[in-house]
Structures are given as C-alpha cells and as structure tokens.
Amino acid sequence: MSGSQEAAQGADIVAVVRGSPVTDVPKDLYIPPDALKVFLEAFEGPLDLLLYLIRRQNLFIIEIPIADITRQYMAYIEMMGELQIELAAEYLLMAALLAEIKSRMLLPKPVEASDEEEDPRADLIRRLQEYERYKAAAEAIDALPRLERDVFEVSVDASAIEVKKIYPDVKLKEVLITFQEVLRRAERSSSHQIHREPLSVRERMAGILARLRGGILVPFSELFQRQEGRPGAVVSLLALLELGKERLIEILQDEPLGPLQIRAAGGADDG
C-alpha cells in the first residue's frame, strides 16, 4: 500500500483523479469531466445511480419525484455522451424507461380506469427497493467478522504426533484367486513357463539369499538346521543347488575336500 493512498484513507475520498483525491461528490451538476467518469464508475449501475439521486435529496423511494429525478439522471447521461465516455447499455435503457414513465404520468388518466390504473412508477419503485435491500445486505455481509481479515484460523505443528498407518485387509484367498488369473494368462500365452519347483525350495532359496546379504561367507554346514531333520536338509540342499544353477550364489572351497563356503554371487561388494 503506497503512502499517498494510506494518507488519503483518512478523509472520505470518493475517487482519485489524476493523483489528487476527490473528497466529496459535487453537490450540483457541474463535475469536472475527469471526475465525472470516475464518479459514474463508482456506481454499480443505473439503479445505484438513481438511488443515490433519491437519497441525496433525503426522500423515500416511494415518493420518487419522477420528473425531477429523470431530469437529473438525463443530465448525467447527456454529459457523459458529450464527453464521449462509453456508457453501459443499461444506463441508456434506464434513460428510456424514465422517459416513458414521465410521459405516462403526464398523460391525462382515462376516467373509467382511474382506480385500477397502476402508478407508472410502481415497477421502478419495486426494483429500486429490492436493489437497495441487497445493496444493504452486501454491506452487512462485508461487515461480518471474516477469516483472514478479522479472525484467523489457527493451526499448530503436529509433527510430534506419530501417525499409524492403516493398511487394507487382504485375504489369502484373494491372493490365490489373482494368482490363478496370472496362471491362466500365462497358460494362454504359453510362452511363459512357470517352473514347478516345490514351493518350500523356492522359499528356502530366498531365505538363504537373505542370510548371505552383505556378501558374507557362510559355511555350507550352517545352512542346514539340525531340528528340521532329513526333509529340511533335502529342501536346503535342493535350494542351494538351484541357487547355484541360477548363478545366484558362489560355492567356494579353499582346498580339495576342504569345507565349503557359500556367498551371494557378486561377492563382497554386495550391499
């Protein structure tokens, strides 16, 4: 916000014309041409301008002195036209409406319809009243305490809060069903053969590789668990042979008939 604007805010400025604030709307019709444009731009439309003209004279809307108001309104419009300032079509439409109302009021009323005849101003009065009501409502809304201006939302850091992650439930059956779908597809394409090694061998292969992580050397014998008995030993042996065949491990022997040592293929650099 610039300094000049801030200073100007103290006074009731209506507009800033070429840098100088205009602090009051002129009382009479003479308005400097530059100011007139700004002045008119301050209105939200013909209804707003009419309301201003009425209220300036301290009148009720229902008492709208149509001749007087029409004259003033037309004077503004004509000045705008002379200055070749482009006017929104709505202003011209309102000028036409006012002229029509004025002419209807000048016409002598037909005798037979005197009671029924609606005041030609009635519709305009209704519109002005309705517009003024919403104009006031807009001001009321603007005056409500609002976020970011009057009151402020709060928030504090919540990084100390440990957030548990919730995982979806999965049933084994779902896994198997989707796997069957994979098998079905594989069968159809038939280019992919799914090996039929017993599962326990595949898992043991993964288990052995997990033990060999970090490129460590593990003695062959340590890969067998006594408590698993003979079937376990067979599974481990098959797994080691399969790993060897797939070149996933290296089997080392320092000397003939020496102890066998196993490590992951790729050696010690393995992370």
Binding site: R55, L59, Q129, A137, A140, E153, V156
Partner: protein, 203 residues
C-alpha cells in the same frame, strides 16, 4: 484416558487439524469402546470455551464444525503477519454474493435483474473458485441456466453457523425505510472507495 481431560484432547485436535471439526470428527478420535458420550463432549466444549476467555483464541461453531480462531481484537497485530492483505471485495462481487446468499437458489439472470446490470463472468468464477458458491442445479427454462447457492465454506469464512445467521433482510429493510438515516445520505455510500470498512481495516 481418565487422566487426560477430554477438553484437552479436543483442543489438541482443533489446533492440529487447522480446519473446523464436526462432532463426528471428534468422536472418531476415540475407539468405539473409549468414546465419551455426547453430553461429555458438550461439557468439554463449554469448559474449553471458558478456558479460552483468558486467551487470544475463541471456540466458535461454524457450518462445518467447531474451530478455534484468533479473536478479532488481535487482528491489528495478526494481519501484519500476512504480506498479502486479503483482497477487499468489490461491491459488484459482494452484491452478487448477497443476492445468492439471500435468494438461493438463484440464476445469473435473476441477479442481473435485481442489480440492473450484467454480472461479469469473472465475478461468478471468483465466487466459485473461493468455494463460496456452487451450482446446485439448473432452472428448467430455456437455456437451463445454473442455479447457484452458497456453500458451508461461505458460512465458515464469514463466521456463521447457518444461513439463518445472516443479518435478516427484514431488519435491513426497516433501516432503509428511514431516509433520515445518516448513513444513507452520505455520498461516500455511493462510492466503494470510501467504504468505511477500509479505514477500519488498517490497524
């Protein structure tokens, strides 16, 4: 749980969430077995509101739930925190918003009839982008124009719990029917630039 006061848990949640929380949101902080009954929550809200009296925040119930907010009295300092002053809204935008708020659901055509001028697409877009209004349907007339209504975010933003909390239109009319009201004769009234709010805003 017994040793942690419910009001503290509510306060912690409102502070951590950074958005209004409904009673249901707050109830969901507890497992079903531990969930306090609604009357305990009501009591805790009252205690928390009381605690806040000595503090710069207040407990407020708005459309989408409860929230803690910095009191209006602190805006002179707090507004300096934010480089960008929240844009003051033009009269055209506020009038459009007011017509939608009070007459919803309503169409752009009806807004234009009331205001006597065209409503720029820009204004409708801004209101939609701010999340203050939404299209709630279409009017079954030629062209099927969108019907607009306000959103809970609108109420939240303007610190209201429900649309009925808006100042009543009747009260506004009563004021208007007294042409001697100073406010109405002020030329400044006609000009958005001299809006009294503007001076009020600078701390």
């Amino acid at each position: 749980m017994a040793d942690v006061a419910l009001k503290s848990i509510i306060e912690a949640a409102l502070l951590a969430a950074g958005r209004p929380l409904s009673l249901a949101d707050l109830e969901n902080l507890f497992s079903e077995a531990e969930r306090p009954p609604p009357e305990d929550f009501q009591r805790a809200f009252a205690e928390l509101a009381e605690d806040c009296r000595r503090r710069p925040v207040e407990l407020k119930q708005v459309a989408s739930g409860y929230r803690l907010q910095v009191r209006e009295a602190f805006s002179p300092w707090i507004s300096r925190l934010f480089e960008e002053r929240p844009g003051r809204y033009s009269r055209a935008l506020l009038e459009t918003l007011a017509i939608i708020a009070y007459r919803q659901p309503t169409t752009r055509g009806e807004i234009e009839d009331i205001r006597g001028v065209a409503v720029s697409t820009n204004i409708i877009r801004t209101l939609l982008e701010r999340g203050w209004i939404q299209a709630v349907g279409h009017k079954e007339v030629p062209g099927r124009p969108a019907l607009f209504g306000t959103t809970p975010e609108f109420l939240d933003y303007f610190n209201l719990k429900e649309i009925g909390d808006l100042p009543s239109l009747e009260a506004l009319i009563d004021q208007l029917d007294q042409p001697s009201l100073d406010a109405l004769q002020q030329p400044s009234q006609a000009s958005s630039d001299a809006d009294p709010q503007s001076s009020q805003q600078t701390p």
